[in-house]
């Protein structure tokens, strides 16, 4: 069985988290936290850290076992199986949701007349190809792709700068901390999908003492990295569109905005 390196572990986790959060997060946190929503992204994601460490300690105790095997040893055969089934259902549901969202965004904003099933089929085929190629390829895939995602995001943010509206970020904390708290709660599920994913790849993690230590830093690094990038994205969307429009716009408004500026309409 192949193992993945610490760097791959970090990028894989960060890519998963980035992929699930970067598009919807602005609309979600601004909807609850208003103008200050951007501040709640990082704390919301940070909630995932202790859970991530918990998963790692499981890996430490049951090296080389998958989550299903671990839960079977811990809770006995039947409860373990039930937990496993629940886990599979939740993962399948989230994966499907993600695929559907991506397809929806593509259909709504880019190719309106193409049936959404085509995008979904394409996505499924890609995922299938990736999965049959093995965990090693999956890890390398994230390693190559994650820097590209980051560059694309930074490009989006950078190119949108000319569209910044005056003073959209102010006033800061006019509503107090309460909305921030609720917005943070809205972010937590994203961190939890990351934990789910982490549990899924548990069996492929190396089990040496040294590596586990590095994985611990890997967890908070990827959460921190994604948290910062997401905060940047939310911040930029509020700056460019104002809170009301940020909540209202469904798709990837900043990408389109950056495209317009970049190509120079």
């Amino acid at each position: 069985m192949e193992r993945i390196s610490t760097h791959q572990f970090m990028t894989l986790g960060a890519a998963v988290l980035m992929g699930t959060t970067s598009l919807p997060v602005a609309s979600i946190v601004t909807g609850v936290g208003g103008r200050d929503g951007w501040m709640s992204v990082l704390p919301g994601l940070a909630v995932g850290i202790p859970y991530g460490l918990m998963v790692l300690s499981l890996v430490e105790q049951y090296p080389g076992k998958s989550l299903l095997q671990i839960s079977e040893t811990l809770f006995g055969k039947w409860i373990g199986k039930v937990i496993g089934i629940i886990y599979i259902i939740i993962s399948g549901y989230l994966g499907g949701l993600l695929l559907g969202q991506a397809g929806d965004i593509y259909q709504v904003s880019i190719m309106t007349l193409t049936p959404i099933s085509v995008f979904e089929l394409g996505g499924i085929l890609l995922v299938f190809y990736l999965v049959t190629s093995g965990i090693e390829v999956l890890a390398r895939f994230s390693e190559v792709l994650f820097p590209l995602i980051v560059i694309a995001l930074l490009l989006n943010v950078g190119l949108s700068i000319p569209r910044i509206e005056q003073g959209e970020l102010l006033p800061i904390l006019s509503q107090g901390l309460k909305p921030l708290f609720w917005a943070g709660i809205k972010v937590v599920p994203f961190a939890m999908t990351y934990i789910l994913f982490l549990a899924g790849i548990a069996a492929f993690l190396p089990t040496g003492k040294k590596e586990l230590g590095q994985f611990k830093t890997g967890i908070w690094r990827s959460l921190l990295l994604v948290g910062i990038l997401d905060t940047l994205v939310v911040l930029m969307q509020i700056l460019v569109f104002g809170p009301a429009e940020t909540i209202r716009l469904d798709t990837d408004p900043m990408g389109i905005c950056a495209l317009e500026e970049g190509i120079g309409f």
Binding site: V108, S109, I110, M111, T112, L113, T114, P115, V118, L121, L125, F128, T132, R163, E165, Q166, G167, E168, L170, P171, S174, V240, F241, G242, P243, A244, E245, R248, P253, I256, C257, E260, F265
Partner: protein
């Protein structure tokens, strides 16, 4: 391993079959089948509840390589929804109307007064449109504006777009993109403002040209309209619009002169190199007030009415004088704008937002009766001009 390979081959075959047999519709359209829309005009229709939508469409012809040589084709249809207009236009052309190239939406005076958000909802919802489209008000009908035959031979929509885009060089009118308009609407307290376009007959406003049916007319961008929500309330004059530009910190470069500001014989003209406006909400003896601090740097490139030769110190004094007089001009423009805001009771200057930004606690107390409060809300203004240079010569030409 083996079954895996077979599965892969199977998937590959399915994929190839899909690729070979599925193309067709799916939004595929060749670029020459499109009728690129350049400008849209919105007026009220004859029947109540309808709009007269004018679509200006480019007709690329072989050989006409650049946009300026493109022929245009303008048609107006009376419809009750934007999609209906799309359908009507589709019926009379062999091409597919294409919205992605749309640059300017011109809203006629009557439509603006009646409200237009319903009809431009299509423009912010349909995926082909961009939030970077420009919004313009037309004095009179948008239809006649887009049907104007320009003397330069350009297509009115393209002319308006490029004229708007170079607008920041003179900073006399705001440049409003659809996205900006929607964002302003989202604030709920600030009144949107949209620049105004009108056609100029020879002799109007001191502009003269050889008027001739064949030659065509000229279009001018000047002033702006203030909206309450999506309803046009009033037009701003040129000076009021300029004041708005100062107060909004939107001035990049401006051409400015001091003629007529007071009795002085010596007058100056110049270009604003840089200008910043700083907002402060401060309490003045218990009442809150908004304070504008405008800092402008001006290069003097025109000195008029200078009769005698000046020594160096006198020249410096004169430039000091010029600073004050330029400040006066700016002050006057801003005050006109503020007066208009108070008169209309509409916060197009975004004062409410400024208060919210810099003192959100106080804002909560005045928020609810804001529209009534605007007229009485104290606003102070301080303009500071520095002369950056005085062109390529000191002294006057009579020396």
């Amino acid at each position: 391993m083996k079954s895996n390979r077979q599965l892969k081959i199977g998937l590959g075959v399915i994929l190839i079959i899909c690729i070979l047999f599925l193309p067709g519709c799916w939004g595929k359209r060749e670029v020459e089948e499109l009728a690129p829309l350049l400008g849209v005009g919105i007026d009220l229709g004859q029947k109540p509840g309808t709009y007269l939508i004018t679509e200006q469409i480019a007709e690329p012809k072989q050989g006409g390589a650049t946009a300026s040589e493109v022929k245009q084709w303008t048609v107006s249809v009376e419809v009750s929804s934007a999609r209906e207009a799309y359908e009507m236009v589709s019926k009379i052309t062999n091409l597919i109307p294409f919205m992605g190239s749309l640059k300017v939406i011109v809203i006629g005076e009557d439509a603006a007064k009646a409200g237009f958000n319903d009809i431009i909802d299509f423009a912010q919802r349909f995926s082909e449109f961009r939030r970077s489209m420009y919004l313009l008000l037309a004095k009179g009908k948008a239809q006649s504006l887009l049907n104007t035959k320009l003397r330069s031979g350009e297509i009115p929509a393209i002319f308006l777009k490029s004229n708007l885009e170079k607008g920041e060089n003179s900073s006399t009118f705001p440049i409003v993109r659809l996205g900006h308009y929607l964002t302003i609407l989202g604030t709920e307290t600030t009144a949107p403002i949209i620049p105004l376009a009108k056609s100029i007959k020879s002799g109007d406003e001191g502009i003269e040209y050889k008027a001739d049916e064949k030659e065509g007319e000229e279009l001018q961008l000047e002033g702006a309209g203030v909206l309450k929500g999506d309803h046009l309330v009033d037009f701003l004059t040129d000076e009021e619009t300029k004041g708005y530009m100062w107060l909004e910190n939107d001035v990049l470069h401006r051409f400015i002169n001091t003629v007529g500001i007071d009795e002085s014989k010596v007058n100056f003209g110049g270009q604003v190199l840089k200008s910043t406006t700083i907002y402060k909400v401060k309490s003045n003896n218990g009442t809150m007030e908004l304070h504008y601090q405008i800092n402008a740097s001006i290069a003097v490139d025109e000195v008029m009415g200078l009769k005698e030769k000046l020594s160096d110190t006198e020249w410096l004094d004169l430039l000091k004088e010029a600073e004050k007089r330029f400040a006066k001009v700016i002050q006057k423009e801003c005050e006109l704008s503020i007066q208009k805001e108070k008169k209309l009771g509409l916060d197009f200057l975004g004062i409410g937002r400024h208060i919210e930004q810099y003192n959100s606690g106080y804002w909560k107390t005045v928020k609810d009766q804001w529209e009534q409060n605007i007229a009485d809300f104290p606003i102070s203004l301080d303009v500071k001009v520095t002369i950056h240079n005085s062109g390529m010569s000191s002294g006057s030409a009579h020396d």
